[in-house]
């Protein structure tokens, strides 16, 4: 995000050494909370990468056939099994909620309280739908006999990777949904217009918080892109 004091700074690659060597804040024009959220997301990227890499290594090194995911995750629709149907719907729901979040951030910066609040609310509903469908998927697989140590479809490692990776991602979604509801309430109450002080902080509320919340939510969607590709499609 550019602001008027940034206009005089060198742009592009020339800006990198001048920003880092400026002996002040390195991330010019980035509010500290936003920088911290990015650092957190970077560390979270490493955690998810470790999970996905251990899944890759486990799947590559087993001598038993890996379960066919398009059969394991198929759903009966009017008596016909459709491969990966539930996962596809979950993907579209999460992308929809990511889009509404992007619009919420935009309306937040325009100080459009009503639109911002409703779009955050819609995002929360999308997230809730996603978590609900994931709970359904988990219970369906558990009923079919998938356990972290064995399953009827193939290599025993499948269950442990499935529950660990989608569980960790689902936890992120759930935490995001809680914060989305909290922030929808804060927006409707007008905290960000009046600069009301938050619960844990003496600092004034600001619409930049919506962007920080948005970063977290988009990251959850981003991780799902990778899980969808590597775990479900591969």
């Amino acid at each position: 995000m550019s602001d008027s004091s940034l206009e005089n700074l060198p742009k592009g690659w020339k800006g990198v050494p001048s920003d880092l060597g400026s002996d002040q804040t390195a991330f010019k024009g980035v509010q500290w909370g936003k920088a911290m959220m990015w650092i957190f997301l970077l560390s979270d990227t490493f955690i998810f990468s470790c999970f996905l890499i251990s899944y890759m290594k486990g799947r590559a090194s087993t001598v038993v056939d890996w379960p066919n995911t398009s059969e394991v995750f198929s759903l009966d629709f009017m008596g016909v099994p459709v491969p990966l149907l539930l996962i596809a719907i979950m993907t579209f729901v999460l992308i929809t909620s990511s889009g509404t979040m992007a619009l919420a951030v935009k309306y937040g910066y325009e100080k459009n309280k009503k639109m911002c609040g409703w779009f955050i609310f819609a995002t929360a509903i999308g997230g809730l739908t996603f978590v609900g469908m994931q709970a359904y998927e988990w219970s369906k697989l558990i009923h079919e006999g998938v356990r972290p140590w064995s399953n009827p479809f193939g290599a025993g490692q499948f269950g442990s990777y499935f529950f660990m990776i989608t569980g960790f991602h689902g936890t992120h979604v759930s935490i995001g949904v809680i914060f989305l509801f909290i922030f929808a309430r804060k927006v409707f109450r007008g905290d960000f217009d009046t600069g009301k002080r938050g619960f844990f902080t003496t600092m004034k509320s600001d619409y930049v918080s919506i962007e920080i919340l948005g970063l977290y939510w988009h990251f959850v969607d981003l991780v799902w892109v990778f899980i969808f590709a590597f775990f479900y499609l591969w």
Binding site: K11, V30, S61, Y109, H218, F219, L222
Partner: protein, 116 residues
């Protein structure tokens, strides 16, 4: 432009908001790309074609989300560099574990299958 200068009077706020069109375009593109990556499974492409298509759509979607929804396209290069260079460490880790996985399956085949 007049809208921009009006907002930049308020010094604490970032001055940029982006037109709604760009978000709707990216949103639509993400839908289309997700649909295509689902089609990869639907038509049961196999082998190298499947893997390259999955990776292609995955990186395209990830790039669009990071660049536009997470605003990295508009951020200064310092932040972008700090965030993206650590990904090379992950790429190295992937490379190491591919080699490790090959070694593990090799030893398992020798001891489990040939050993019997």
């Amino acid at each position: 432009m007049d809208q921009n200068s009006e907002i930049s009077k308020d010094k604490q706020k970032p001055a940029t908001t982006h037109k709604i069109g760009i978000y709707l375009w990216i949103w639509g593109l993400l839908f289309v790309l997700s649909f295509f990556s689902y089609m990869v499974d639907w038509y049961q492409f196999q082998g190298l074609l499947r893997w390259s298509l999955i990776l292609f759509f995955m990186f395209l979607k990830a790039g669009l989300i990071m660049a536009f929804f997470m605003h990295l396209f508009w951020e200064r290069y310092t932040l972008v560099n700090v965030l993206l260079w650590p990904m090379t460490a992950i790429a190295c880790f992937v490379g190491l574990m591919v080699a490790e996985g090959k070694y593990t399956v090799f030893t398992r085949l020798i001891y489990f299958v040939l050993g019997e």
